[in-house]
């Protein structure tokens, strides 16, 4: 009987080997998908209870995890939550995360591939793993100034260091307190979530990077860039009648005031923000040239994926009348405030568009750098020569034109106002600007200035916000 017993023994051995191989296979192959499964309560609870890393502005932690004696172990706390909510986002047990809390979840939780070694050391030392900290590019002074200058008007402010693309301020209004959603009292979280979503003012929407709006006259910068690139100079004369008849339409496009003659220079057209001049110019350049120029500034690209930013857009196939309307930032041209800050920044940076970013470095638990961000060039929007011409034109806007409220003594500032009027709603007030020292580009978007519609203008309501931000950074 020993022969069969030996063979049975081999079968039995194979059964036990199969058990262990299967468990090992499961560990190696299935663990990632099991751990990533949204229904995995173990991971969800533990992730919520981890000692997540801080989010730093300068040397100050604006988000941190504090030990707490409950079933999760750590409470996420947001110092100045409302001020930084647009960047940090929230981290909620029931509603997941948003902002950096979501896009850098793996780093903050300490589960990213780059932190593998840290985890191994923790494992060996028997320590609870700790997440990495994020150093943001934000400037606390600029952020505070932007928030205060915007006040409780709905809108957004974005400030960039145009030489690197580092985001120095990013404010959206109205805002919310992420602490409400990070509460371990899940009933309170549910109530806060419902209230925030039912709020007509949409405090959860990120107006700086996640919403697109007609940019109004600030888009004339893109048309000017296209014109200069096509061979025009700032002194080229352009037609600036009091009104133009749009082709194929009975609609007449009028100027807000006199542009200073039937023919004015391109510089003068930008300084007084002459609608008919730019409509004509845009019509001559054609929609393809305008779209190409817009795309070189970053239109059509999803910007700042860290905040899940959306792409700005130029209409795909406009007719000539629509092209002329698009040239003054109306019709279906739509841009995020971030995009418009990049337009101003690229002009100031001699035509080079830098990719915007928010996190300069990720630091592990011993403050060793896990990853560091280096400035990255996104595209070249225009030649340096043309960019310098456009810089001069923008400086003239601030010195002699609609942007006079952005003047700062001792600093060379260029800007462009915008007032986007569409339909019955309150016009949007825009202002984009750059300064030479500090090297910052700012876009201010005021969705509702809180005044009568006909009184709204970018120069009056948005330019002072830009000036406040630039002054805060001096």
């Amino acid at each position: 009987m020993n022969g069969p017993i030996r063979r049975v023994s081999v079968v039995v051995m194979l059964m036990f080997v199969a058990l262990m191989l299967n468990a090992s296979f499961s560990y190696v192959v299935r663990t990632p998908s099991l751990t990533a499964d949204a229904n995995n309560r173990r991971v969800r609870d533990a992730a919520f209870g981890t000692d997540r890393g801080d989010i730093l502005v300068g040397n100050t932690a604006v988000v941190s995890s504090e030990p707490i004696d409950d079933r999760f172990g750590y409470q996420r706390t947001y110092a100045q939550g409302e001020l930084y909510a647009a960047v940090t986002g929230y981290y909620s047990f029931l509603y997941g995360g948003s902002g950096l809390e979501q896009s850098y979840n793996a780093e903050l939780a300490g589960t990213s591939d780059a932190q593998f070694l840290d985890r191994l050391v923790d494992l060996a030392a028997g320590r609870r793993p700790q997440g990495a900290s994020l150093e943001t590019t934000l400037d606390a002074a600029a952020q505070t100034a932007a928030s205060q200058a915007l006040g409780d008007r709905p809108g957004a402010v974005v400030a960039l260091d145009y030489t690197t693309g580092a985001v120095r301020a990013l404010v959206t209004s109205p805002t919310f307190d992420p602490s409400l959603l990070a509460s371990h009292d899940l009933d309170a979280t549910t109530q806060a979530w419902t209230a925030l979503n039912d709020d007509a003012a949409a405090p959860l929407s990120n107006r700086a990077v996640r919403e697109i709006y007609p940019p109004g006259s600030t888009f004339k910068l893109v048309v000017s860039a296209a014109a200069l690139e096509s061979g025009l100079t700032p002194d080229t004369l352009v037609d600036s009648p009091a009104s133009v008849q749009l082709p194929g339409s009975t609609h007449e496009l009028r100027n807000a005031g006199s542009c200073g003659g039937d023919q004015i220079t391109l510089r003068q057209a930008l300084v007084v923000s002459c609608n008919t001049a730019f409509a004509n110019l845009g019509g001559q350049l054609g929609d393809d040239a305008l779209r190409a120029q817009a795309e070189r500034f970053g239109f059509g690209t999803r910007l700042l994926p860290a905040l899940n930013g959306v792409a700005s857009s130029f209409p795909a196939d406009p007719d000539p009348a629509q092209t002329m309307m698009s040239s003054i930032g109306a019709f279906e041209v739509a841009a995020t405030p971030l995009q418009m800050a990049m337009v101003a920044g690229a002009i100031a940076n001699d035509g080079v568009v830098m990719e915007p970013y928010l996190v300069s470095s990720v630091r592990g638990e011993d403050l060793n750098v896990v990853s560091r961000r280096t400035p990255n060039q996104l595209s070249t929007a225009m030649s340096a020569e043309h960019a310098e011409q456009l810089q001069d034109m923008m400086v003239a806007v601030v010195q002699d034109g609609t942007g006079s409220r952005a003047q700062i003594s001792g600093v060379r500032v260029g800007g462009k106002t915008g007032t986007a009027v569409t339909g019955e709603r309150t016009p949007y007030a825009w202002f984009v600007a750059w300064a030479e020292d500090p090297t910052v580009a700012v876009a201010v978007f005021v969705q509702d200035a809180g005044v009568d519609g006909s009184d709204v203008s970018g120069g009056r309501y948005a330019a002072p916000v830009a000036r406040a931000v630039i002054e805060a950074m001096r």
Partner: protein, 490 residues
């Protein structure tokens, strides 16, 4: 002329391993509390009907050590040559199980671990009775048909109208007063004895060559009776108890023993074919079985229905390589973690490493008993040892494979580890039988030498010298004196 093979008793090593096993089991219990509360366990409380026992933690640990040492002492007294490591392995598994049940008690505020310790008291008693009363397993060989009737009666008992209880879709329980009992656990052992006794008697008949087909000797149709009856009973269990696990264990045991006894591959092939037919019939006839297969192959298509197996996978993944540690994981999220899914709970808190260690503990028990089967000198002991080792291995494979998604899930118990009195008692009785066989196989006996046979064939008139050992099996003889590699010859 002849040599006496004497194996060492290994008493000291066995005692040390026993103490290690008991200490490891107790450390699980202590670590749960040290990890969760940073303090030693609070007082325990055990209630049996109107009676209540309670005491500080060290009394419970002391009782655990006492049970283990009594079992070891009784074994030493009655079966001095029994395998030295099977009993420590059994206690280590039991200790891990009770500690894990106690750990799961912390989540549901029940006191299952204390109850399990009480069952262990009963199980060790049953073990001691077997060890003291049986001594020689060959005494079991006498009552072949009584065993058959008893085994089948136990197996079919849950179908009785008053006694039987249905639980989770399978009718495999009987209820006696406040206790419920899973008779298939005991039936497994009794049927192994019955099969062994029957096959030792009939194997020559069954092994007679039949038709040769595709290079395999198939049995004669008239010899198909036993396998036909076994298959019919398996089908009965499947149809009326809807229990795939017990069907597989019962029929798998029979086929394996038939093959071992007759040494004919034809029986094994035929048996495997019939198992496939059973599986097919079960799949076609019962939604219940189809559901099991669906939740095995595609568990993630229905989170609500397959919550148990999915949660077990989450738990194993959560445990990772080294586990969360005693009391630090969340195995209680898996329904029935104390019973069917205790292997997943162990895997979560002890990690892949601990899980494989538990599998290896089972593997070691099986290996020791199979080794005994090879070393045993008489056919009944060989067949019985191989049979109980195989059915034990098959049960471990079925339940742990089911928990880890290697196989469809079937509701058999995890021997020695999972919660439940009948399973614990039955497996301790099984351990008693196993150790009895190892004692008989390992105790000093005369091993015939090759010269005796040589001289016998050279001189037909010479009589065979009277030796204590029974006439050896020629197949064993061909391999040399059995166990000579392990034992010491004097």
């Amino acid at each position: 002329m002849s040599e006496v093979v004497v194996r060492r008793q290994r008493s000291v090593a066995s005692l040390l391993m026993m103490l290690l096993a008991l200490a490891l089991g107790a450390s699980g219990y202590l670590l749960v509390h040290l990890n969760q509360d940073g303090a030693l366990p609070p007082d325990w409380l055990m209630s049996v009907g109107p009676l209540q026992f309670s005491g500080p933690w060290y009394v419970g640990v002391g009782a655990w050590f006492a049970l283990g040492l009594v079992a070891w002492g009784v074994t030493k007294w009655r079966l001095p040559y029994a395998d030295p490591i099977i009993l420590p392995l059994v206690f280590l598994l039991t200790g891990l199980g009770i500690s894990m049940i106690h750990r799961l008690d912390q989540a549901d505020s029940l006191r299952s671990a204390e109850l399990q310790l009480l069952w262990l008291f009963a199980a060790v008693t049953a073990y001691c009775v077997v060890v003291v009363a049986l001594r020689d397993h060959r005494r079991l060989q006498r009552y072949t048909y009584v065993w058959f009737l008893a085994g089948l009666a136990l197996l079919l008992m849950p179908l009785l109208p008053v006694l039987g209880r249905e639980n989770h879709g399978a009718r495999i329980w009987i209820a006696v007063g406040p206790f419920s009992f899973q008779p298939s656990e005991l039936a497994k052992i009794i049927l192994a004895i019955a099969f062994a006794a029957y096959l030792v008697e009939k194997r020559d008949v069954l092994a007679m060559a039949g038709h040769r087909f595709l290079g395999i000797d198939l049995p004669r149709p008239r010899d198909l009776g036993p396998i036909g009856i076994a298959w019919g009973v398996a089908l009965l269990i499947l149809v009326f108890q809807r229990d795939l696990g017990t069907t597989l264990l019962f029929f798998g045991l029979f086929v394996m023993m038939l093959y071992t006894a007759t040494e004919r591959v034809g029986w094994a092939v035929l048996g495997l074919l019939l198992i496939l037919v059973l599986g097919f019939v079960g799949y076609e006839m019962f939604d219940h079985v189809q559901t099991r297969f669906a939740s095995w192959l595609h568990p993630f298509t229905d989170y609500d229905r397959n919550l148990q197996v999915i949660s077990a996978q989450f738990g194993l993944a959560w445990g990772g390589l080294f586990g969360t540690g005693w009391g630090e994981g969340r195995p209680y999220l898996t329904p029935l973690a104390k019973n069917d899914f205790i292997a997943a709970a162990l895997g979560e808190e002890l990690g892949l490493v601990g899980f494989c260690a538990v599998v290896l503990l089972y593997g070691l028990i099986v290996a020791r008993v199979l080794r005994t089967a090879l070393a045993a000198t008489e056919p009944f002991g060989k067949l019985l040892a191989a049979g109980v080792a195989f059915v034990f291995a098959l049960q471990v494979f079925t339940i742990i494979g089911g928990v880890t998604r290697l196989l469809p899930l079937t509701g058999v118990t995890t021997p020695f580890v999972s919660q439940g009195g009948s399973s614990l008692i039955a497996n301790y009785i099984l351990a008693g039988v196993m150790l009895t066989i190892t004692h008989q196989a390992r105790r000093p006996q005369v091993a015939p030498t090759a010269e005796e046979y040589a001289s016998l064939s050279a001189d037909p008139t010479q009589a065979l010298p009277a030796v204590a050992a029974p006439r050896p099996d020629p197949a064993d003889f061909a391999d040399g004196p059995s166990g000579a590699t392990e034992g010491e010859a004097r």
